[in-house]
């Protein structure tokens, strides 16, 4: 086996769709772009494609780096590449920026051809179901009828689950990591605090801030700081920052004193520089609305009945935002339907963010499962 390497320099591509898209909300989008990247080679049978769905603030840049800036490394580069758990020597991997995103796919910051102005707040609310539809169209465009696997963490895992329900004939395996069958009230509450931070920022201008040459930085920053706290575990924060002080002594004021404050503010600032406020609102709403059991009278097992894929469900013990118990709900619903499912709760201590981290057990599990898929399609 070759030692794991990076896929190297990658170039994003854009697919334009003129076919109107009916959204779950009832709104219609006449045309849109999806930005995506691919790694590895699609085999002659077109059977080795793996779709990677992104999480809340994710994008299409999953692996490798850009030629223009080698530091811009894909967000799941540790997982995907030649010799890595998702081995691009065997699989053709696709990363896509979801509709409503702010990294090239059509979204609130996109300038509308008709008006010459960004959509802003007029961009319709999008749901996980809508994303699956757009991703399916992209797959068809790329000549992929059936994915060897569709995978994702968190909101990405929800998309992988939705795919398996809505388009079972197009998914051989669904890999659902650190996800849940729906959000708890506590989760929705966190999301709403984040949204309120943005919505009440004076620079938000009802979503029309683009015309004013400003961004609601304070709101975005607060939203991200709050999110970040919920993605980590108490243990990982204690380990990384503890009660460490930047100057070694209390200064009895409201400036940055504790290391954790410094870290969160830095993360918040970085996020505010690169993410669109309207997109953040949309993505958190997509999370809130996700609930496949809803149409089945609250019965998740009934909702999952159409799914025929093999499933790998992974949770992390320290993830309190999407706890292992929530993953077990998915597993139980699959067991009730007699579906092929493998479940593992991993001991990683990094909280919800564990799905993005290097972890020996996590990677061994993914490697073994992906290896099995590779043997199936060989």
């Amino acid at each position: 086996m070759t030692p794991p390497r990076s896929v190297g320099a990658v170039v994003p591509q854009t697919a334009h769709f003129d076919e109107p898209l009916q959204l779950r909300s009832g709104a219609m989008i006449d045309q849109y772009d999806l930005v995506y990247e691919t790694y590895g080679t699609l085999n002659a049978e077109r059977s080795n494609a793996v779709l990677v769905c992104h999480a809340l603030s994710g994008n299409h840049h999953v692996a490798g780096h850009y030629d223009s800036d080698e530091r811009v490394v894909g967000w799941w580069d540790n997982m995907i590449g030649p010799g890595k758990p998702v081995d691009t020597d065997r699989f053709f991997v696709i990363g896509v920026n979801n509709l409503g995103g702010c990294h090239g796919s059509t979204g609130p910051s996109t300038v509308q051809p008709k008006t010459g102005r960004p959509y802003g707040a007029s961009f319709p609310v999008v749901t996980v179901e809508d994303w699956v539809e757009t991703q399916a169209r992209l797959a068809t465009r790329l000549g992929i009828e059936r994915f060897a696997a569709i995978m994702g963490g968190s909101l990405g895992g929800m998309q992988a689950l939705r795919w398996a329900i809505t388009k079972p004939e197009r998914v051989a395996h669904s890999i659902i990591i650190a996800a849940a069958p729906n959000l708890t009230a506590q989760n929705i509450a966190f999301n709403d605090v984040a949204r309120q931070a943005i919505l009440t920022d004076p620079d938000f201008y009802g979503g029309g801030f683009y015309a004013h040459g400003v961004v609601p930085r304070r709101g975005l920053r607060l939203a991200r700081m709050l999110g970040h706290i919920t993605y980590l575990s108490d243990d990982s924060m204690a380990e990384k920052f503890g009660r460490g002080l930047r100057t070694g002594a209390y200064r009895f004021g409201f400036d940055i004193e504790f290391e954790i404050e410094s870290y969160l503010r830095y993360q918040g600032d970085k996020f505010a520089d690169r993410f669109d406020a309207n997109t953040y609102l949309l993505m958190t709403k997509a999370l809130d609305y996700f609930d496949p059991a809803q149409d089945a009278g609250g019965d998740l097992a009934r909702a999952l009945r159409p799914a025929t894929a093999g499933f790998l469900v992974i949770s992390f013990a320290s993830d309190w935002r999407f706890s292992p118990e929530r993953s077990v709900e998915i597993v139980k619903a699959l067991l009730d339907n007699d579906r092929r499912v493998t479940y593992a709760e991993l001991g990683s201590r990094h909280g919800h963010d564990s799905f993005l981290m290097d972890d020996e057990h996590y990677f061994r599990l993914m490697r073994a499962y992906m290896n099995n898929i590779a043997l199936e399609i060989a």
């Binding site: 493998t342 073994a368 499962y369």
Partner: protein, 202 residues
Amino acid sequence: MTVPFAAPTARPDFAYIARWVKPGAKVLDLGCGDGSLLRYLKETRDAHGYGVEIDFDSRVDCIGNGISVVQNDLETGLAMFESNSFDCVILSQTLQAMKHTEEIVREMLRVGREGIVSFPNFGYWRHRLQVLRGYMPVSGALPYQWFNTPNVHLCTIGDFERFCTEHGVRVIERAVLTDGQPVSFASNLMGELAVYRFDRAA
């Protein structure tokens, strides 16, 4: 790397268990290890189902064996599984390592129509002899020393049958093996390994 399929001869109880599993049955294998029993049952009886395993390395091996395996601590029960959802629930050479013996047998008969257990017979004459000499037994069936054994509830064939009577468990069939061969005479003395098939007493 796919783990090569372990020959059933490595585990003499496999052949007996397979004989008792109906073709096409839905099976739950508790403490399934690397999944080789389920794979054996899939290949010989067209059975399907799940393994339950707490050990990480074993679960990775299960994936290599193409077996669906879920992580679940047997000591906490089988809440993940619906009642009567399996034709057969197997606990192969794990009963003696369970802390909550009564609960797991009850759970086996809740989720499955039938149960199969196999366990080393503490009453085997070689085991008795070692105890008589003043030492805890160590043998092929009981390969551990007293200080590193995972076994907490060793029993004899006599003990197990009494347990069944007292807990509403009806024994359907029994096989007693020594060196992989069936024993028909003085089984509690001559048998090294016991395999039982049972259901709920009416």
